[in-house]
Every structure is written in structure tokens, then in C-alpha cells.
Amino acid sequence: MIRLNRLSMHYTLGAARIDILREVELHIGAGERIAIAGPSGSGKSSLLLLLAGLERPGAGSVEFDGVALDRQSSDQLADLRRDHMGIVFQSFHLVPSLSALDNAALPLEIAGRRDARARAQTLLEKIGLGQRLDHYPAQLSGGEQQRVAIARALVHRPKLVLADEPTGNLDDRTGAAVGELLLQLNAESNTTLVLVTHDMNFANRCDRVLRLHEGRLTEVTAPREHDHAHAV
């Protein structure tokens, strides 16, 4: 489903060149759950940006369902994210002026779906936020905000969910609950998940754990359930 071909990326800082990714090769199958770990500044977020089509690689390519992202226009990439991707951020990033329901419905609203609010409501009720539909982000706890963000990432039934440290801003107990919810919903919808996390307990619940270090991606654990998944 996702294929990274000799993917490289670098920044230049004055005269210095900082390599973020060096000829990374990766194949992720549909429905697979991948965790990416690595120290701060190792390029995990950059990799997610490249997977979401929000940044262009320096060299190599990202293919999503056979489509090379670097050959797509900005609008085509936006449509791709709208229809096939969901993103969960560490800092939740809910729209402060929208209620929980409106935040969860946002991807469907962008797509112009008439049943956006109804579908979002169903999902929020399913994850235990039925009493919080009209509450604004500022009126929700951190855990509740992240659950709304997960609902937003999954409400339009995307093929791929990108999650960037989804439990990073939560305490251990809440983080565990939120992580559980993410994995549970992912399993139910058979969505491909790419998870960036420091939490190795959380990471180990994924099919594969990859480590990003000095621009290179290496596999930490062997594939568990998906025999079609490939190592780097």
C-alpha cells in the first residue's frame, strides 16, 4: 500500500547540510500496524510529513496505492488526505471554536458529506463521548480531546492513519487508554496505521517496530501477524 523508494531528505542550515533521511526503503501493506521509534530530532515527524504528502522528498519517492506522491499537485494531495488519510497529533489540534461533534465531523464536512454530523456522533458515542458532543475543546480533558482527535482521524474510514506521539501529552493511565482505543478502532476498521511513539510498550503492540536513527530505518522486531509485511 505504501512504498518508500530510496527516500532521502535533508535541510540546509547555512553552509551545513543536515541529512534527515538517507535512502530509506520501506513497504507497508494494507491493514498493517507500524510503529516508528527513535530519539528526538531523528526525523520521525519528517517521515510522517512525507507520508502525508505535506513535504516533498529531496530524493526518492513515496507511493501510496501505486500513486507517486511527489508527482501530485497540492490539490490532489489534499484530496488524497481528505479521502484516504487520518492524522492524530501529539497536541490534539482540535479547532478551538468548534464543538467536539463538529471537530470529529470535519473531514466529512470538508468532503461535503451530508451525513457528516450523524456519522461523527455515532463514532463519538461509541467511544464514550456521547455526553460531550457540544463541548468545546477547552471544556474537555486532555484524554477526551485526544479521543475526539482519534474520532476525527477515523470518521471518514481512511485507508491510512498517521499518528504522531498520540499519547505523548497524556499521563500514563490516560495515555494507555487512548492508545488502546486507537488500536481497537484501527483493528475494527482494518486501517493501516503508522505510529510514531517513544512508548515502547505501545510500540510493541504494533505488527512491526522500526527505529529511525541517523537517517536510516531499521527493524527492531520481526513481523508478527502479517506475513506479507517486509523488513527494510
Binding site: S74, H93, P96, I110
Partner: protein, 837 residues
């Protein structure tokens, strides 16, 4: 405290860039208030400080004929008396050009106060005295410029030829209306006799000025007791002072209101600017709190920063405003006697303007400051959105406390405190109305944005949600741009209505020449002279008889218990015939008589006079004319059209009723305006007692005044618009981070950039439409009130020019705003993933 000053100063030094809107808004408002306040002070000090001089004495007794000797003897025994005879007449130049002037003849005591300055310098009596058998005349400077006359030139007044001996550089009692009603020409009493203009039927004003040590009111009481039952008009300089002060106060207040409005609009810029500034300072606030700075100290530190900037901006405004007041004083000083500008004179209005600026800044900055200070450092570190913060009640209470001195200062600054109180009340009502409107619009926008019909129009939904979300620019835009555009719409509509009235109505119906004082004996000769004009289409000559209404239905008005009626009986009215309805009046109650009516006298009266006396159609009226009485039935009440009417006739009689009393006529000639000057000169040469006015000149004068009014109103519009644009910039600045964040998030979630741009454009277009609608409705209402009640123009006015101007300006300014925002809308999805928002 010095520590806080140091800290505030150091923190401010690196941050002033974001606060330039605050400085610009304050400087603009204070400049306008300081300039108009300083100018008003110079004018009022000049006109009100020594009204005796401007008035020409302590009292004035005014009469249509010379006062009897016994009255004069009584007056001379109680003060110094100077007689002035005033007469409107035509001045002829050697080239045959005629011009309407106010001829003034003085005795040797003139002026009782002040002195006349002539160029070349000479005593007035010497300049006017005969030399080689020719009397001298001193001409108003503007008249000499207009006619190209210089000292030594010869002029004709009536049947006398005089020599221009001097130009009047300063006349202490020059009428404030001299430029409009006729510039003054000074001649000696002997020269007036030689002009032969004082004929039976002519209407000179005999003005006896009195200089006395007695209190003017006591003097008047003694005079009225000594000579009861006379019709002479007695006025004191104190009355003149009060009336002048009232008029000046209203004009000054009106001008100052522009500055105060601009400062109020700018206050919104102050709020937004401080809000945006403190949003960017939340990290600093948190750090300072974390290291132990108390809340009160933190508040004081940022208040010190605001005070520093407010004081500096106000100082700039004071300097600019002071300079403008001096320049304006120089321009106004050519027309009006102004007090010399001095530090002492200008210090108070300038200082008040500065204080008002600072207190306005504090009032508008406190809510933003209060809101920022409620953000706890812990919340900041957790990344909770600043939208969760609200201005606490305590901050609102402090804002209200700061508004009280600001309001007090406004009332002190305004020359007319009632005007200021009215403005404050109107402002409060407008704000309440606006708040209601904003809430209703936000509600509608919310409902619409959630409507299923708009499900597939995400850009439109984005735009609608932009109107109801927290921090929406709807309220500040309506308040600032809406207020400015309201003024612009009202100004546009008033000017448009006036120009249309002058351009469309008057020229189509206006005579080219209007004549006064055609004597009965000269009437036929006058008609023959006019007939020489090849393009003469119509000549209407109607008698002008002066008389008083003395009884209504048998009740003698003079004995009436109703003071208005008894006073009315003393007024002299202008009476005439209908004569093709040449003064273009409109009957409103009753009806005109048939054209061939030949019965007992009937009369129609002007509505204001009739209403003052409570007259009704069918009343029996008795007039006193030249010592005789004339009875007539009131059959109609008519209204004058302000621009069409020229003679302001108070009563119109059936033909023949006034015949025994006719000594002179007034007339109107309809001919090619190009021929009017020649006809005027011909009449002036043959019948010098006839006063004539060229309508075209009056129209040009009216157009000139309207042009200046339009320029002035445009300037008002431009200034308020500038203030509102500054506010708009501050609104955009305050919301930029929010826009960037939202746009980035939406793009990351899959919204096309084009949709985001379209949504932003739609949001600003909706704002422009709402602002236009608001400004058109409120501006049209204002213009309607002004036109109908103040200017009493009954013609319906078109609202569309105002709406068009408002739409163009709002779309242009908000379009620029949207473009400006889009240029600065740099999306950064990486920031979302890297955990910084």
C-alpha cells in the same frame, strides 16, 4: 516601582513593531482633536473675548428711519452714541460693471470700540473726506480684488461718483455674513446724501450704537420705560455674545466630534493591537510569573508600557494637531478676527486632547490586558488555547472606571456639553444596537453554516463559521468600518441631495435676475429697459409692501396675553401679490383664489408665521400698512421652498388689495444668463437705486459652498476611514495566528488551498456586504433626519449613491485586508506534527 519601569522599558524596546497600529490610531485621533480644539479656541477667543468690538458698542438701537431728536437727546445723555446707516445697493465701476454691496455711512464717533485699519494707512475720516470736490470711499479688500479696483479708481454709488481712497484691511464690526450678503463699502454721511439713495420707499437700516458704563440690560429697561410702545429693535452685546457662543459651540462641537469619533474608532485598534501584542507575549508573561512577579506587578508593568506608548503617541498628536491649528488659524484668520495664537491660548485644548488620548488608550487596553493576565503559566505549558481565556469581571470593572474620566474629559473638551452628552448617549445606543445586530448575525451565520443545503459548499461554510467563531472580525469591523462608512454614506447622501436640488431644480426654474427696490414711478421705464434684452422671456414685477398683522378675528394682537402673539404684532411683514406665483410658493392648506377673482380682499400667509400665531383658514385678519388698516380673509397657508424662494414673502394678497400702498416693486427676469450681466449693468446705470442680484452668481456661490462642503465631508470620511482601516489592520494582526493555524490544520486534514482562499475571500465579502448594509441603513437614516428636519428639504433622496459608495469602499478595503492576510498566510504543517501550535 523603578524596577517595573526598567523591566517594562526593556521589554517594550524589542516589541514596538507590533504596536504601531496602537500608536497610529492614537496619534490620528489626538491630532484631530488637538487641531479642531486649538482652532476652536482661537476662533472663540477672537470672537467672544471682545464682543463689544465685534458688535460695535454695548447696545444697538435699530430702526428703519432716523430716531426722533428727543430720543437721540435721551441717548446722548446716557452714553456715547454713533450712528451708522446701512443700505444694500449696487456699486458701478468705471467699466460699467455692477456689484451688490453693503453701503455703510458713519458719523465721526465710529467706531466706538476698536479701530478701522486702512491701506494705505490713514484715519477713516480723512480717507472718506472730499478732496477736490470728490468724496472718498473705503472698499472691502475682497470686493476690490473681485472687481479689480485699486486706490485712486473711480466708482459710482447711486448718483454720486466717488474715489477709492483706501482698502479696508480690518473693520472691527465687519459682519460675519459680509461675504455672502454683500461686502462693505464705507462712505461719509455727506457722501451718502450725494448718492441720493435715501429716497421714500428705500429701506436703509439706521443703527445707533451706544457706549455706556451702565449695565446694558438696565440701559435697555430705562429706554423701554422712557419710550414705550415703539418698534425699535434693541440688542445688547451680551445677547450677541450668548448667541454667537451658542453657534460657535455647536460648530466647534460638530468639528470636534469628528476627532472624537476617529479616536473612538481608533480605540478599537488600540484594543486589537494590545490583544495581538499580549498574545505574542504569553510566554514572557508565564516566565515572569514563574520567577515570582506578582499579578499586580505584572499588570502594572504592561500598563506602564501602554502608558508610555499612549503618552508618546498623544505627544505626536499634540504637536501635529497644534501645527494644524496654527495653519488653520492662518487660513480662517483671513475671514474672521482671530485671537493671536499663543502657548497660553493653545495649551489647554492641546493638553486636554493629549489626556483624552491617554485615557482612551487605557480604557480600550484594559480588557485586552485583563484577558491576557488570566492565562496561567501552567495552562500555557500544557498548550491550552488562549481562546479559553475571558476578560475577567474585575478588568471590566476597571475598564468602566477608566471610561468615566474619558467621558468626563470628552464633556470638558466639547464646547457644548449637551452636544457631548448627546453624542455619548447616541454612542451607547449605537453600541447596544450593534451588539444586538452582531449577536443576531452570528446566530444566523451559525444556523446557516450548519444547514444541510450548504453541506457541499465547504468554502461558504468556512466563511460563515468565520463570522460566528470566537475572535470573529464581525464586531470590530462593523464597529470601525461600519461607523466610518455610516458617516461616509450620510455625507454622500446629504451632498448628493443638495447638489441635485441645486443642479436640477433651481436652474430649470430660476430667473436670471432678481430685482429689489424698483420704485413705482420707475416701473414702466424699468420694464422698457429690460425689454431691450433680446432673450427676455418673462418679466414679473410684484409690489413689495411692508405691513404688520395687528388683529386676528377681532383680537388685537398687541394686547394679547400670549407673548408670541403680542411680539408678532411688532414684526414687519413683506406683503405682495401672487404675480404668476413668482416666488414659487406651494399652497399647503386652503386654496388660491380664482385668477379672475374681484371680490373683497383675500390673503394667503406663509406657514411658519401662520403656525406661530395659530391661524386657520377662514380667519379674519387685519393688517396695518403705512398707518392705514386692511382687512382680509385668510384663504390659504403656503410653504416656501428653501432653494426656490428668494423673497420670503409673509403674505400674498388678491390683486388690487395693496394698490393704495405700493411704492416699490420687486421683480424677476427670465432671460439668457449670458445676457444677465449686461442687463444688470444697464439697469444699474439708469436706475442706481435698483438693487439686482444675478442668480447665476448666487448659484455659483452655492455650488462653491457645496463643493467646499463636499470636500470637507470627504475629508471627514477619509479620516474616519483611515482610522477604521487601521483598526482593520489590527483585527487582521490579532487574528492572523488563528487564521494561519486554522488554515494549516484544514489543509493538513485535506482541504484544498483554493478552498481555504475562497473561504477567506467569501468571509471578507460577507463582511463587506454586512458592513455596507449596516452603513447604508444607519447612514440613510442619519441623512434623512438631517435633510428633513435640519435642512427642511422635502424632496425624497435616493439612497443608492450612499450604498454604492459604501459597497465600493468596503469591498475595496476588506478585499485589500483579505489579500494582505493571504499574503501573510504561510502554512506550516510541520509545526502541527512537531507539537508546537
Amino acid at each position: 516601582m523603578p524596577m517595573l519601569f526598567r523591566l517594562a522599558w526593556r521589554d517594550l524596546r524589542g516589541s514596538t513593531r507590533t504596536l504601531w497600529v496602537l500608536c497610529a490610531c492614537l496619534a490620528l485621533g489626538v491630532t484631530l482633536i488637538a487641531a479642531s480644539g486649538g482652532l476652536y479656541r482661537q476662533v472663540s477667543a477672537g470672537l467672544l473675548a471682545d464682543t463689544r468690538t465685534l458688535f460695535g458698542g454695548d447696545l444697538e438701537v435699530r430702526s428703519r428711519s432716523p430716531l426722533p431728536d428727543d430720543v437721540l437727546a435721551w441717548m446722548h445723555s446716557r452714553g456715547q452714541v454713533s450712528r451708522l446707516i446701512e443700505l444694500r445697493t449696487m456699486l458701478m465701476t468705471e467699466s460699467g460693471e455692477a456689484h451688490l454691496v453693503e453701503l455703510q455711512s458713519f458719523d465721526e464717533h465710529y467706531p466706538l470700540y476698536g479701530s478701522v485699519e486702512l491701506a494705505p494707512p490713514a484715519p477713516l475720516a480723512d480717507a472718506l473726506a472730499p478732496q477736490a470736490g470728490t468724496w472718498g470711499a473705503a472698499l472691502d479688500r475682497t470686493l476690490a480684488e473681485r472687481l479689480g479696483l485699486a486706490v485712486g479708481d473711480s466708482i459710482e454709488l447711486g448718483s454720486a461718483r466717488l474715489e477709492v481712497r483706501a482698502l479696508i484691511m480690518r473693520q472691527p464690526d465687519r459682519s460675519l455674513r459680509a461675504d455672502w450678503s454683500g461686502p462693505p463699502v464705507l462712505i461719509a454721511a455727506g457722501a451718502l446724501a450725494e448718492t441720493a439713495l435715501l429716497q421714500p420707499g428705500s429701506r436703509p437700516a439706521h443703527r445707533y450704537r451706544v457706549r455706556t458704563d451702565a449695565a446694558p440690560d438696565d440701559w435697555r429697561t430705562a429706554f423701554a420705560t422712557a419710550f414705550p410702545g415703539t418698534d425699535w429693535e434693541i440688542r445688547t452685546f451680551i445677547e450677541r455674545n450668548a448667541r454667537l457662543g451658542e453657534v460657535l459651540g455647536q460648530i466647534g462641537s460638530g468639528v470636534l466630534l469628528i476627532g472624537i469619533s476617529a479616536l473612538f474608532i481608533g480605540g478599537l485598534g488600540v484594543f486589537n493591537s494590545v490583544h495581538a501584542y499580549l498574545q505574542g507575549k504569553l510566554g514572557t508573561l508565564a516566565t515572569l510569573r514563574a520567577i515570582g512577579l506578582r499579578d499586580r506587578q505584572l499588570a502594572a508593568m504592561y500598563l506602564i508600557q501602554i502608558l508610555i506608548l499612549a503618552a508618546a503617541s498623544s505627544l505626536v498628536g499634540i504637536v501635529l494637531g497644534g501645527l494644524l491649528a496654527l495653519v488653520g488659524g492662518g487660513l480662517v484668520g483671513e475671514r474672521l478676527p482671530l485671537a493671536a495664537a499663543s502657548v497660553r491660548l493653545l495649551a489647554e485644548p492641546l493638553a486636554l486632547a493629549g489626556l483624552f488620548g491617554v485615557s482612551t488608550a487605557v480604557t480600550f487596553a484594559l480588557p485586552a490586558l485583563g484577558q491576557a493576565l488570566t492565562v496561567s503559566p501552567a495552562a500555557l505549558f500544557r498548550g491550552i488555547d488562549v481562546d479559553a481565556t475571558r476578560t475577567p469581571r474585575r478588568a471590566w470593572a476597571m475598564t468602566a472606571g477608566a471610561a468615566v474620566p474619558a467621558l468626563g474629559l470628552m464633556l470638558v473638551i466639547m464646547p457644548d456639553a449637551w452636544f457631548g452628552a448627546g453624542f455619548a448617549l447616541a454612542l451607547a445606543l449605537t453600541l447596544a444596537l450593534l451588539e444586538g445586530m452582531v449577536r443576531a448575525l452570528r446566530h444566523i451565520a451559525r444556523r446557516l453554516s450548519e444547514h444541510p443545503l450548504l453541506a457541499e459548499r465547504f468554502a461558504l461554510r468556512l466563511a460563515l463559521s468565520g463570522l460566528h467563531r470566537p475572535g470573529s472580525p464581525l464586531r470590530p469591523t462593523l464597529l470601525s468600518l461600519g461607523t466610518a462608512l455610516t458617516l461616509l454614506v450620510a455625507s454622500t447622501l446629504v451632498v448628493h441631495a443638495l447638489v441635485r436640488t441645486v443642479e436640477d431644480t433651481v436652474p430649470a426654474r430660476a430667473p436670471a435676475l432678481v430685482f429689489y427696490d424698483v420704485t413705482a414711478a420707475d416701473k414702466d421705464a424699468f420694464a422698457e429697459l429690460m425689454a431691450q434684452s433680446a432673450t427676455l422671456g418673462q418679466l414679473d414685477l410684484a409690489p413689495l409692501v411692508l405691513g404688520r398683522l395687528i388683529a386676528v378675528n377681532g383680537e388685537t394682537l398687541r394686547d394679547s396675553d400670549d407673548s408670541r402673539r403680542s411680539l408678532e404684532a411688532r414684526d414687519e411683514h413683506k406683503l405682495s401679490y401672487l404675480q404668476n406665483n413668482f416666488d414659487q410658493v406651494v399652497i399647503e392648506r386652503g386654496a388660491w383664489w380664482p385668477a379672475d377673482y374681484a371680490g373683497p380682499p383675500r390673503v394667503a400667509m406663509e406657514d411658519r408665521e401662520a403656525d406661530q400665531l395659530g391661524l386657520k383658514v377662514g380667519d379674519r385678519l387685519r393688517f396695518e400698512i403705512l398707518g392705514s388698516t386692511l382687512d382680509a380673509e385668510l384663504v390659504g397657508i403656503y410653504a416656501q421652498k428653501r432653494f426656490q424662494s428668494r423673497l420670503w414673502l409673509e403674505a400674498i394678497f388678491t390683486d388690487g388689495a395693496l394698490d393704495p400702498f405700493i411704492t416699490r416693486y420687486v421683480g424677476m427676469a427670465y432671460l439668457d444668463p449670458a445676457e444677465a450681466a449686461a442687463a444688470q449693468n444697464r439697469i444699474a446705470a439708469a436706475q442706481p437705486n435698483v438693487v439686482s442680484v444675478r442668480t447665476e452668481l448666487l448659484l455659483n456661490e452655492a455650488r462653491g459652498i457645496l463643493g467646499r462642503a463636499a470636500s470637507g465631508l470627504s475629508a471627514i470620511g477619509a479620516v474616519t476611514l483611515l482610522a477604521s482601516l487601521l483598526v482593520l489592520i489590527s483585527v487582521i494582526a490579532a487574528n492572523r495566528m488563528r487564521h494561519v493555524y486554522l488554515a494549516t490544520l484544514l489543509h493538513t486534514l485535506g482541504t484544498r488551498l483554493g478552498v481555504i482562499r475562497l473561504g477567506l475571500h467569501l468571509e471578507y465579502f460577507l463582511l463587506a456586504v454586512l458592513t455596507t448594509a449596516f452603513a447604508t441603513i444607519v447612514g440613510s437614516a442619519l441623512a434623512g433626519i438631517l435633510l428633513h428636519h435640519r435642512l427642511q428639504l422635502d424632496t425624497p433622496f435616493a439612497w443608492w449613491p450612499g450604498a454604492l459608495v459604501a459597497l465600493v469602499v468596503s469591498v475595496a478595503s476588506l478585499g485589500l485586508g483579505a489579500q494582505h492576510l493571504l499574503r501573510r498566510l504561510r502554512l506550516s504543517p510541520a509545526a502541527l506534527l512537531r507539537g508546537t501550535d
